[in-house]
Symmetry: C3
Subunit: 353 residues, 3 copies
């Protein structure tokens, strides 16, 4: 059964850097409404998107330099969430504050920590160093998905779906039948498929310029709770001195609500880095291919939701080793957090004002 | 209180023959998603529209001759629902199967059995022999209805509504005040209204060519759980040798979800069978008149749903004898099935994979 | 926590007079569907909008002089809700009746009593005598709001929001910081703000023709359960002989369902009464300014509903004295009705017909 809950003490991608500006922006992340903006010095800020006073979304207010003024009664918050002004009264009580969230900006992404702020450690960000590598070119996008995040987690660890879900782009008949090597640790899973002397899929020909029979490498690595790095390589079959065409896809999956998800995808390629046409092919192709994954997950969510609170029987196959391992990791991380005191849930308990 | 549940061990119309083809088609019936298609030899096939593996709708896959390949990981099912191929593995376990449903195609309709397959007996199909009578002409259609099926069951057994709901087509002032004879058995109800020397309703004039005062016969026969045959006849009042104009309407009501319904209507006439203009009048008129019934049922469902889980007081009238009898029959059939072991519900229990 | 329930033994505005005609009209009020129409003599009539027989909305029927005929089976109701005709049967049982509601028409409004009919006392209507004053001009409208009614109750008692929510129309920087005097009784709250020598807000300049520094008076008076009268006055600062510009806004808040509301606003002015341009400014300006309040309430409802059944922490400010007083009054009136026998709820209990 696909879980719907994710651990909060983890980094998630809140937004692509270019989305966050001096315009107030609202986005739900893990069932919290979040207001995002930039300070005058450019640093991103994230606060819960409801005023402590009467639940007005702060994103409907306005910026006063770095501070955020509620658009209803003017309560003004500093970037750390503490109120600094309450119109009509002199005293600002310490309880007059909203939650602010630790952020890190790196690799063209704004990363958010949804759990205990004191546990937010930038060194725990998932590896994404290639996004900061100037010799590569990265094309990315955000796909909204009306389905639970775990569906994508499992999709991305099962490479056999390429043959059937993406036959016209990155799939080919051979993939599904080739063996997979699955390795794993406490918080990661890696599925490797060496595909020697296989047909070059149509989309690779377009963006890489290779064709015919190729040796294709594909490594899908999951890092808990919801990051996937797919290393893809292709070279003419049988070896030789031809250049390796290689790209890395980073998939960042951010739960929005229980059954909806923000899906950030970023393709960083080492080939044709200055070719704007290849940029356009990946912009369109990424949206198309990863959009097929979104379509599949949404179709499945539609079936699951129709059976709730029951759940249809499911049967596991040989290819499910990796996905099921990832499922267990997510479930274990969620269970571990449940035993600890939860600051987030305490903040949403009922107030009888 | 209008029931929402229907017996599963019964035939229902799944589709009109012309709807089912080599294109995969998806339709919810009695809370099951169903994938419908035709084999190469033309025979219709119905399977539950979710893969046993990860709930992907099979209707998003593709046909491989007669077999159905899931569009996610390529698991391939034969027409009986048994998997015959699982890519990436040699062994296909017997549990790798989906539910297939017994079908019968007759009278231009594809009939489906939603209950225990071994109980599916084609001789138990409700009578529809006139649909296969070449001397008649049948015009039909499918109306989707956002209301529970039982609302139509009761609508069709109460002929007094013609005066008020269909005043411009098949209703007339006289109908509501004329006596009804109601007969019934264990699984059927029949309401008969003889209307001698009454005004010819406007729509009869159009399609039959009769007018003025007529002797009008109307018999509405309900066969459990959701079939209605309305025999309608009209001839100039006072007897004489004029030809009888007569048509039969078969109403097939298929629950989609608890409060939505597929409404198939088929008008088979014995008059003007080769007149394309009369075909067009019935195509439009059927959609119009039966659409008024759908509108009424949807309006009522809107009221009922607003009061849930409570239910507004209702008061029975003399005209409700037939409808209430049908209501009791449906409730009794549902209750009888509840006491028997239910294969369908067993299949949807939670799997902790 | 914002309450969602309101007392039923109270007058509410059902409609503006011009909305009610010989065309049957349907409107939900306090979770009851209501059918409204006028008798031939012009008097308004209100009945529950579902037939006692099978829940068909009566608003889908037709008028027979003053009587209302159900559009399904023709049961015909007199204006007091008693059935006078059941087609197909001679006897009309006394139980064949629907609820009718006491109405009063005054000030261009149709007022409805949703509780015990015998308690409906026209002298208990909230004061609105200025609506019948021919020397004034009234402009009004109805704004539908997808939020609970209490959000508007509290909005209208907190004048400090003018600065932040309506900065371009009736707000100005000074308002939020000026002291408020709050008075109250058992069923009313009054908040007074004297604003001497303040900037004239932009919209006042347009409609009143005043500008520069003004002495501005603002009194917001709440009468339980959901009426607000805002007295607004403006004159050039520092006194002198200039004429006072003064208008009265009546806000009538009618719960539709638990979290949706009909918001009637009526601005009665004593200045420029014959100026059609000022009429147009108020028609547009009222919709605009009060629409900003609706937007704020809907945004808050969106946040609250996302947290249900939990409720986010809220913190009270100095300005909340008036709003919280109104909240307590509404809660107390609802609690008082709960202890009394409730005719309305008895009528919606489940009938096992």
């Amino acid at each position: 059964m696909y879980p719907v809950e994710f651990p909060r003490n983890a980094w998630y991608v809140a937004a692509m850097s270019q989305e966050v500006s001096r315009e107030l922006m609202s986005r739900w992340i893990m069932d919290d409404p979040i207001c995002l903006y930039r300070r005058l010095d450019g640093a991103p800020v994230a606060m819960v998107d409801r005023c402590i006073h009467r639940q007005m979304p702060l994103s409907k207010g306005r910026l006063r330099e770095d501070k955020l003024e509620c658009g209803y009664h003017g309560i003004t918050y500093d970037t750390d969430g503490r109120a600094v002004r309450i119109p009509s009264q002199d005293f600002v009580p310490p309880a007059c504050r909203v939650r602010s969230y630790p952020l890190v900006e790196s690799g063209g992404l704004v990363w958010i920590w949804m759990g205990e702020p004191e546990m937010a450690d930038p060194s725990a960000l998932p590896d994404h160093h290639w996004l900061n590598d100037a010799s590569r070119k990265t094309i990315g996008g955000l796909l909204p998905m009306k389905a639970r995040a775990q569906l994508l987690n499992e999709n991305l660890l099962d490479l056999s779906h390429l043959t059937f879900l993406h036959p016209d782009s990155i799939g080919s008949e051979a993939i599904a039948e080739l063996p997979v090597t699955t390795e794993f640790g406490d918080t990661w899973v890696r599925a490797t498929r060496e595909m020697n002397d296989v047909d070059c899929p149509p989309f690779f020909t377009k963006v890489m310029g290779v064709s015919g029979r190729i040796d294709r490498g594909q490594v899908a690595a999951f890092t808990a709770p919801s990051f996937h790095v797919t290393h893809v390589s292709a070279k003419p079959a049988g070896g030789g001195h031809e250049e390796l065409c290689e790209h890395v896809v980073l998939h960042c999956i951010t739960p929005e609500r229980r059954t909806s998800t923000h899906y950030f995808w970023l393709v960083s390629r080492a080939y044709n880095v200055d070719d704007a046409e290849v940029d356009a092919l990946w912009t369109h192709g990424g949206r198309n291919v990863f959009g097929q994954d979104v379509d599949a997950c949404e179709a499945i969510e539609g079936v699951i939701s129709a059976y709730e609170p029951s759940y249809p029987v499911e049967l596991n196959m040989k290819v499910d080793g990796g996905p099921l391992r990832a499922r267990r990791i997510v479930e274990r991380l969620v269970a571990a957090e449940r035993t600890a005191p939860d600051q987030a849930s305490a903040e949403t308990s009922t107030s009888q004002a």
